[in-house]
Structures are given as structure tokens and as C-alpha cells.
């Protein structure tokens, strides 16, 4: 049975596109048929992060408007054969998408894929609402800072009211993905603590991805971090999160715990540095 999963946040730049590409790749690496759909019309990024920018011919808007057939717009990943990308249009604006058209494309994708990962644009406007509209599962990407947490709370409210599932009284699974988590800064009290974020948002935790230069390196070479550097901590966090999405129970390790041990070993100097 296919699952439509929106990756959303409200706030911009928190790691939605990075997480869509990495979770999508990790699911595909586990043998699932996956398509990652870029809903950020006008500001597309996913093609770059997945290293497919030169292969874009048709895009989501073309398919929604009937100018191209779905297979013409789908781009198959060169590294993982069960991973596909449906790019956004860079030249059009968000009004080019209609709910009816998006619904039709999603229904067609459901016939071909196990996972349809929707990379949402930032904000709470039409683009973000269309990206979440047909979702069965939501991954709420949050950074450990108050503004991001509040925006996530707002988005959760919208997931509970503006999605098709919410309107028909069906359950929509919601998961929290904490990204750009800086263990050192959390220890110093410069960032919000995991437990405080969980208490405020009151949805289950899917994973914690640490702030890491490996993520930037990977996206600069156009490869999700789970493919480019599978042994890195960030890749392992995404791989574990993907396994949890597939229903496996994998323990979550909080980067702060390690740092807690470090500062316990080194005392105050470690935190004062």
C-alpha cells in the first residue's frame, strides 16, 4: 500500500529539502519504491540536492496542467534504481498548481510507488497547504530554537485541520524530525532541549539529526548524505528514521547524551571552551 508523506515545517531553511532527499534515498536503499516530489514551485532545490538538475525536462506543473505525461517528468536516480524525482518548475509560480491537478498526480503516483515523499515549501500559504493536502504521514522538521518550534506547532494545527484526512476524520500520522541539532550548544543551554521541544509539540520523535558539515558537503556534490557518506552520523540518523517509518523499532540516541558524558568527564572546561 502506498504512503504519501509530506515533509513540512512552516519555517524556512530548517532542512526540509535535505530531509526529503535523505529519507527518500534511505527508504529506496532499503528496497522501497520511492518518488520524491518537489512542491517548492519557483524555488526548486531538490533536483540540485539529488544531483539531477541537468536532467530536468518536464516538471510537476507540466504534469498537473496536462502538458506532459507523468513518466516523461519522472527522473530515475543514477545510484539507486528504486528512487525517482518529480521536480518542481523553476519558472512558474505557486498558483500554477491546483488542488484537483495535484490530487490527480498523487493518485497516479500511488499506483507506482510505495512512498511518495512531498518536499513542502516554507510558509503556511497555498504551496505548503497543497503539499500536505493528500498526506497520510507528516514529518515535521524542526530546529531546536523557539521560532522553529512555534512554526512547527502552527503547521501541526494545519495538518489537523486542512488535510484531506483531517477533513474526513481519518488519522494522520505525525512525526517530529529534529534537525541541525548542535549538541555542544544544547549543553551550553543555547538551544532548546529535546525534552522541552517534545513537551511543547506533543508528537512522537522520529529522529535527531545533528548539525554536521557532512550534510553540506553531500548536498554540494548533489547527493543525499545517506548515499554520499553512509557512515556519517547524519546518514545514520536518516537511515534509522527511515527504518522507523517502515515500522521497525530502532532506539533513538540523543547526541546530547554523548556530549553530557564528555562534559562530565572534562568538567567545566569542556563547556566553557
Amino acid at each position: 500500500m502506498s504512503k504519501v508523506m509530506v515533509v513540512t515545517s512552516g519555517k524556512g531553511g530548517v532542512g526540509k529539502t535535505t530531509s526529503s532527499a535523505s529519507l527518500g534515498a534511505a527508504l529506496a536503499q532499503a528496497g522501497q519504491n520511492v518518488v520524491v516530489v518537489d512542491f517548492d514551485v519557483g524555488l526548486r532545490n531538490l533536483d540540485l540536492v539529488m544531483g539531477a538538475e541537468r536532467r530536468v525536462v518536464f516538471d510537476l506543473v507540466n504534469v498537473v496542467q496536462g502538458d506532459a505525461k507523468l513518466p516523461q517528468a519522472l527522473i530515475r536516480d543514477k545510484r539507486v534504481e528504486t528512487l525517482y524525482l518529480l521536480p518542481a518548475s523553476q519558472t512558474r509560480d505557486k498558483d500554477a498548481l491546483t488542488e484537483e491537478g495535484v490530487g490527480r498526480v498523487i493518485a497516479e503516483l500511488r499506483e507506482r510507488f510505495d512512498w511518495i515523499v512531498c518536499d513542502s515549501p516554507a510558509g503556511i500559504e497555498k504551496g505548503a497547504q497543497l503539499a500536505m493536502r493528500f498526506a497520510d504521514i507528516a514529518v515535521v522538521v524542526t530546529n531546536p530554537e523557539v521560532s522553529s518550534v512555534r512554526d512547527s506547532d502552527r503547521i501541526i494545527g494545519m495538518l489537523d485541520s486542512k488535510t484531506l484526512r483531517a477533513e474526513t476524520g481519518e488519522r494522520l500520522e505525525k512525526h517530529l524530525l529534529l534537525t541541525r541539532y548542535d549538541a555542544a550548544r544544547a549543553t551550553k543551554g543555547e538551544m532548546m532541549k529535546v525534552e522541552d521541544i517534545l513537551e511543547i509539540l506533543a508528537i512522537p520523535l522520529l529522529g535527531i539529526v545533528a548539525e554536521s558539515p557532512d550534510v553540506l558537503t553531500a548536498s554540494n556534490v548533489g547527493s543525499p548524505v545517506t548515499l554520499h557518506n553512509p557512515a556519517s552520523a547524519a546518514a545514520r540518523s536518516y537511515t534509522d528514521a527511515a527504518r522507523r517509518l517502515m515500522g521497525e523499532s530502532v532506539a533513538i540516541n540523543t547526541p546530547a547524551e554523548k556530549r553530557g558524558l564528555m562534559s562530565r568527564l572534562f568538567g567545566r572546561k569542556a563547556t566553557a571552551a
Partner: protein
Amino acid sequence: MAVETLAAPHVTLRGRTFMALVVAPEFPMAEWFSAFDQQMHGAGGFFIDRPIVADLGATLEEGGPDAVFIVLEGLEARQLRLIGVEGVDPVLLAGTRWERLPKTLHGRVQTLETWADLHAAPHDEPSPAPVAAPSVSSLLIDRPVRSGQSIVFEDGDITIIGPVASGAEVIAGGSIHIYGALRGRAIAGLRAGDSARIFCRKLEAELVGVDRLYRTAEHWGEALHGRSVQVMCDRGALRLSAFD
């Protein structure tokens, strides 16, 4: 029981309708406006886009018609959404740019809905007979109230099982019971007045208000932060007290 009693504020609010709040400027005006500015500033966006009705009865009585226009200009300059005036004779505003603001005469309670009706419907149409309000007197919400959401229940109490997020608001005709953290705003007593109370498991609120009194976070001490608290009116002041 830890008790913190707060002095009465200069500026009071009165809920009238779903969203409109009534402000009643008082002399000396300079002082009233500076207190109002301070409270607007401290209220974390509470007044932005919120419909405001100005009760100019006291202004007119003490300062005469000239004062009414000065006060209206003063409110306008603060970019409030002034949607109505009360306490003044409509004749006074005739020919001014405030002429079209809905006016309520001398204490008659008029709701947003009724003036919306008055203004929408042609005058010769008979107004519909009042429909008896359903006798539901409490509203139960058994999920978190998320940022940006607004729960308004004029007919009675609201009970919420779960947290009320920062940036969310709960407005009740009666009391408000929150089995969770209150991080946003809660305003009780729109109908019940000063007998209404607010109860919450954990006080981290931006603003609490009962009847005509309200407080923003900076007005209560660290001592109450994070605690299980009730908010009530006590001889004209808002009192916050911890349960534990």
C-alpha cells in the same frame, strides 16, 4: 498557597462579542494613552488586527465633543482596527470620517453580529426573530490547541485537555480549565464577568484575562512560572495563585 496580588491596571478591556474588545479611555488622557501604549507593546501582538470598540462615554462627559475627536485620532494613530464607537450620540460624529462607524447608544449591548446584520440588511426588511441559544454550557477540547488557533466559546466554560501553545488563544464566556500547559493567551468571563476563573496545570502564558482585567507575562513573577495556577478577580484586581 503562594499568592500574588496585582494592582488594578490603568487600561481595562471588556469583551463584547466574539472578537471585539472595548477600550474606555479615561482622563487624564496623556496618562491613559501612555499606559495603553505600554500595554499594547507588552501584549505580544494581542491588539494587532483585533477589532476594537471605543467607549467614549467618559471622554464625552469630561472633555466634551473636542476630546472625542482627539481620542479617536489618538486611537487611529495606533493602527488599531477601530470597528465601533459607543457612549456618544451619533449626531456628534455626523459629517466626520468616523460617521460610518457603528454606534451603540448608552450601554445597550450590541454584538458584532447584530450590527453586521443591521448594516447588511436593507432597513425595510423585518429582522429575524431571535433564536434561542442552545443550552450547551461547556465546550470540551481533547487535543492540544496549536499556535495560530483560536478557540472562542461565548456560551460557557471551556475545558482543554492538552497544552495551549504560544501564539494560540482561548476565549470563554465563563471559566477556562486547562489540563496542560498554558503558553498562549486565555481570556475568561466574557459573559460571566468577574466570577469567571482560569485554571491551568502549568503557567507559561503570554497573557491571561478575566472580565475586564488582564495581565501579560512580565506582570507575574518567576515564582509562578511553570506552576499550577488559578487566575481570578479579587476586589477589582487580577489575582494569580499557585495550587502547589
